[in-house]
Amino acid sequence: MKMDTPADIKRMKSSLLSNIRRSAYVYRVDCGGCNGCEIEIFAAITPIFDAERFGIKVVASPRHADILLFTGAVTRAMRMPALRAYEAAPDPKIVVSYGACGCSGGIFHDLYCVWGGTDQVVPVDVYIPGCPPTPPATIYGFAVALGLLDQKLKAKTHIEGEGEQAGIAHPAVPYNVRIHIEREARRMAGYRQGRDIADRFLGMLQIPGDLPLQQRVETFAAAETDPRLAEIYLQIGETLQHPELRP
């Protein structure tokens, strides 16, 4: 079912990039996306991000297109329309697969009514990942497609040294208390902010001093200007009174 690119088209494609000398026209093919990608492409071509300043213009017909932008996992019903759009675009053309679903089928990759990512149906040149990709990522992807920028690849390999060990955060606080504080902070403020709050609270606990715990928590909370944070600190302090957590 998948289509191949003949050798002469491949050659023409590389010359297209160096000889284009005008705006690149983009045609969008929605193969079964949820609109998240479409709406971010919209955002990318409207005033705040304004992809047109780089000469990237969305056009109304595949017959005008240099770049075809495929979004969404290819559904059964969209297979033929997508292929027709691909065939309608003049060679040489660049195919961009957009979004998590376009790149791989995403969350829908193995479903009964889906064929998978764009590359299951047509040959793809550039992948723009994201769910959905942000407008800056979109513009970056276009720049890669046009040969203005290279694909950004960053790889870092860490080789473990002898006896190397990751340090424990807040080693002075007993294990069960630490776990308890992290859980409570996340229950009160969620995963992302709970982690920060737990760190700050544990940092406070590690400062040496002889005041009783409750008093320290109260002073710490009183110094906080954000009332919600103060509430969370007091709540964590309160749960620390639990008998199981006493040393």
């Binding site: 609109n35 559904t75 019903a77 033929m80 009964y112 954000d226």
Partner: protein, 571 residues
Amino acid sequence: MNINVTDRVGASHIEYLRQKLPHAVLEERWQTDKQVTVTVKLNQLPEAVSTLYYGREGWLSVVVGNDERSLNDSFGLYYVLSMEGEEKCHVVVHAAVPSDNEEFPSVTPKVPGCVWGEREIRDMYGLRPVGLPDERRLVLPDDWPEGLHPLRKDSMDYRLRPQPTSDNENYQFRNDAAGETTVVPLGPLHITSDEPGHFRLFVDGEDIIDADYRMFYVHRGMEKLAETRMGYNEVTFLADRVCGICGYAHSVAYASSVENALGIIVPQRAQAIRSLLLETERLHSHMLNLGLVCHFVGFDSGFMQFFRVREKAMTLAEMLTGARKTYAINLIGGVRRDILGEQRTKTLQLVAELREDVQRLLEMLLATPNFGPRVAAVGLLDRKIARDYSPVGPLVRGSGFKRDTRVDHAFAGYKNVNLGVHTGDGCDVLSRTMVRAAEIFDSLSLIEQLLDNTPEGPIINEDFVYKPYQFALGFTEAPRGEDIHWSMTGDNQKLYRWRCRASTYANWPVLRYMLRGNTVSDAPLIVGSIDPCYSCTDRVTVVDVKKETSKTIPYKEIERYCRERKDSPLK
């Protein structure tokens, strides 16, 4: 079922049903204090649904099919009615189809709004609605083999991909016009927006006599996915991806359906955060639609301006959730991210800026001479048609019906806020647009109200266990209208059944009536006015039935014609 239900809102509806149809009701089960499921005899199903629908101001929300053969040797049919008369609640009419019968009496002849739901049940379960006037496929693609029904538990693995039966679309389009007409197909691919859909306009000269459409080009099989590959919490993130524009509304509807089924109490603060984010989503969605309306009437600088201002709503979402779209904030029992003082301050600032910007843009739009007269009295949605088909959101509010889930069935944080319902009585594109414009200011005010009185306490409740085979509804008011989900828990830490009905699903069936009697140049405007996650089409092929010729017109041409209304491309 939930035995703690004490205050039963809606008991009078059941009483009414028992009086009207003395022997029909077999059983009543309460899921929450405002949700009841009544089991009726299968042969009295149409009467039971229509009695509640027309007798007690019920509106059809969704029709759910369920393969319950492993539980009680039958298929379940659930007709969900939103009761919006005196006692506001949800009544679900349930009937069991014996597994050896595979037929049920169609409700559509009595309540036309059931048509899509019953066609879907026919596709997905292979149950035949006897008397259904329209037995074409709805959901499954044209190249799907006959007799394979994906949602039957024993029919297939969720990964099975049968060979396509044909390479051509072979859907039969309906034309109710009396005389000869010309066919104008639109789609499925199109330029400026979203979902693929294929339209056939049957025209006589410039006038649309009838219209038909083929949707579900993007049917992927999410409901089957939720039953097989995913656990309860994963589905909240899947629900975010039902729609890229109003996905969060789906996520909340799904999470609350499971919470209602299991009687989980969601902390007040989490409820407020959910409402706040729903309003953020409404802001960006309504501004998107207002921008598109500008585009369709040929006011392109307005389109760009609305998109410029809309970015502030996107910034707001990104700041509060970490993502511009697909917020991924819900879990069963609460939310994953709090709103701290710093974010509160920034939100209030953005809200103030948005209020000023939108006000200025609206004044500009309304003062533009080609706006008002261009959209007034176009795309009329007759009140009778609206009552029969149960459309939702700004579409039905633009025809004078006060339907808003946030007010009728206050969920999440909407119990504690001050909110009215905006309606218009023009029944036209103008009314719908004005309703949306007014709702932007409502959303801004709601965000401020919610931030002023955010309850204290935790944002998630993890103190519950999953029990098998509990079911309930969850609902939200998405920017396009009511989203409703019906979930049944399974015995393997997965859903047994998840039915997700997006708001536009309820709005498509009336589009046909809105298109009739208008001209070809109004079509994109009317389709855009239901804000259908779809706005226009890539190209138009005109088939002249009489001359047997066809001519392809570029999309830009029909769009230009919509704006300028001269030099018809049909000539």
